[in-house]
């Protein structure tokens, strides 16, 4: 048998998903394989496409609020935050300081919950079963805290135009402070259990290296970008809400492999805890909602608002026409751009490494499909 014939004989297609456990939702990747090596991974999207943008254009802007939580269901509050901020920028609504602080506290709690879920699920992809139990234990505390003010555990609809739905009470503050204290102790456990684990390091180090130029060409953002050493965080670079008042750092990696992306997220949990701590200390008294007209008129013209979601830059782009219904609402989601580099990043690697890369990207499929 000739060499070329042998290669032809060894080449085949493999469907990874849409029910594959490591795709975390309904994502199909059609892999062109040669033996154990992936030649060309092509993601196939749209299994849970719901056309959120059309829904945004066919009802008054208030009616879109619940939809924002159903894109990224793991970290819904930054999506709430971005949408209300967009409408506030368009309609010129001033938000009370207390409301902005509450928004930041709840969004950061949600970000930690998202990172904890990711941490557990990623290690489950790599074959470690225990960390997800620890992660879910910690996440459960956050969900309880958030449930006490928002009323829901997953798809929050808590932020409102001009403020938030209801005020936080002493019980909430107490529980949040207790969680911060607890979470700092848990770091030691995660460090011992995961970060220094030799199998984990072998599965992640030098795997799936994203270079800064590649990140720029694909428009990658969030921890996936920061793993490559670029300190780009919308909370710092394009300050919104009350983030400029807080002292926090942007953790960055060195070379952009899976291990760096892991380290960035773990360090971000601590930074989020710092933000929450400061926001609780400086929580001002006052109203939690501004007076907002019942029928918000969106003036003609376009407007953009970007926030840092758990997975990167979330941009809402709105075109108004003078009515209360958006004429066009474009939602730029981070995972969509982050995943789009997979065909380039994943060619010529081993199949188990592809699983490691996919997990390290922290994909949320409903957000990609919208």
């Amino acid at each position: 048998m000739l060499e070329s014939e042998y290669q032809e004989y060894n080449r085949f297609f493999l469907n990874m998903g849409p029910q594959h456990p490591s795709t975390h939702g309904v994502l199909l990747i059609v892999l062109e394989m040669e033996g154990e090596y992936v030649l060309d991974p092509q993601p196939v999207l749209g299994f849970i496409h719901r056309m959120h943008e059309k829904m945004g254009e066919s009802r008054p802007c208030q009616g879109f609020m619940p939809n924002t939580a159903r894109m990224d269901y793991v970290c819904a509050l930054p999506y709430n935050h971005g949408y209300v901020s967009l409408i506030e920028r368009k309609a010129g609504i001033e938000v009370p300081k207390r409301a902005e602080h509450i928004r930041v506290i709840t969004s950061e709690l949600n970000r930690i919950a998202s990172h904890l879920l990711w941490l557990g699920a990623y290690l489950l992809d790599l074959g470690a079963f225990t960390p997800i139990l620890y992660g879910f234990d910690d996440r459960e505390h956050i969900l309880d805290i958030l449930e006490s003010v928002t009323g829901s555990r997953l798809t929050y609809c808590y932020h409102r135009f001009g403020g938030v739905y209801q005020d936080i009470d002493d019980k909430f503050i107490e529980a949040t402070r207790a969680f911060i204290k607890r979470m700092r102790k848990r770091y030691v456990i995660y460090e011992k259990l995961v970060t220094k684990n030799i199998i984990f390091i072998k599965r992640t180090e030098n795997i799936g290296i994203v270079s800064p130029d590649m990140a720029l060409r694909y428009g990658m953002t969030g921890p996936n970008l920061r793993g490559s050493g670029i300190a780009y965080d919308i909370r710092k670079n394009e300050p919104y809400s009350v983030y400029p008042e807080f002292d926090f750092e942007i953790p960055v990696g060195e070379q952009g492999d899976c291990l760096d992306r892991y380290m960035v997220r773990v360090k971000e949990i601590e930074q989020s805890l710092r933000i929450i701590e400061q926001a609780l200390d400086r929580l001002p008294e006052g109203p939690i909602r501004a007076k907002v007209p019942k029928n918000i008129k969106l003036t003609p013209g376009d407007c953009n608002f970007a926030v840092e979601a758990a997975r990167g830059e979330l941009s809402y782009y709105l075109v108004g026409d003078g009515t209360s219904t958006p004429y066009r609402l474009k939602i730029r989601v981070p995972s969509y751009s982050n995943l789009s580099c997979l065909p380039e990043l994943g060619s010529g690697i081993l199949l188990p490494d592809l699983v490691s890369i996919l997990g390290s990207f922290d994909l949320v499929i409903p957000e990609i499909d919208r």
Partner: protein, 180 residues
């Protein structure tokens, strides 16, 4: 150290592009670039050379102006770019001709690949030179169905959905005239 307040308007004007400054606090972006169809690739190359990253490519459906501009399908393609090292956002806009063809920028910014496929799905814009313009979010059977195209009675002209270029005083005056 990167200059945090660099203005990129002149870099685009030097390339013969029509760039204007905008009010960031009102609109959320700093620079607006109105493009001709044959300038799209030059604009993307300039943005890449200056170190911008791609935020998104999207479509917009407005009423086509008959008469003064014959070659206008009513569709617009909107590009947004931003920077990692400073706060600077660019919005670029191009009117799609009747042939529905706009040059693809997916070889300059590979990230545009999926955004262009999405725009083809939702609006039917054909990106010329795209290597793989297959349905992405919608199914293959629906490749001629474009959900974000508006019905004729809901369409508005581009002027009706754009910022008023005049000074605010005049619009206030007009409003007073109407009530008075």
């Amino acid at each position: 150290m990167v200059d945090k307040s660099k203005d990129y308007k002149n870099d685009f004007i030097h390339q013969g592009l029509n760039a204007t400054d905008t009010d960031y606090h009102q609109r959320g972006y700093h620079l607006e670039v109105a493009l001709d169809v044959n300038q799209v690739r030059k604009f993307a190359q300039t943005a890449y050379d200056l170190g911008f990253y791609i935020v998104f490519v999207a479509g917009l459906h407005v009423r086509s102006e008959e008469g003064n501009d014959q070659d206008n399908s009513g569709l617009e393609v909107v590009y947004q770019f931003a920077r990692y090292d400073q706060l600077y956002r660019i919005k670029a806009r191009v009117s799609v001709p009747k042939s529905l063809k706009v040059p693809s920028i997916s070889d300059i910014f590979q990230g545009a690949d999926w955004h262009e496929r999405e725009t083809r799905d939702l609006f039917g814009v054909v990106f010329d030179g795209h290597p793989n313009l297959k349905p992405l979010l919608l199914s293959e059977e629906d490749s001629n169905f474009h959900p974000l195209l508006k019905q004729e009675e809901k369409l508005k002209s581009l002027d009706e959905v754009s910022w008023k270029s005049g000074v605010p005083e005049t619009t206030e005056k007009e409003a007073n005239d109407e009530t008075g």
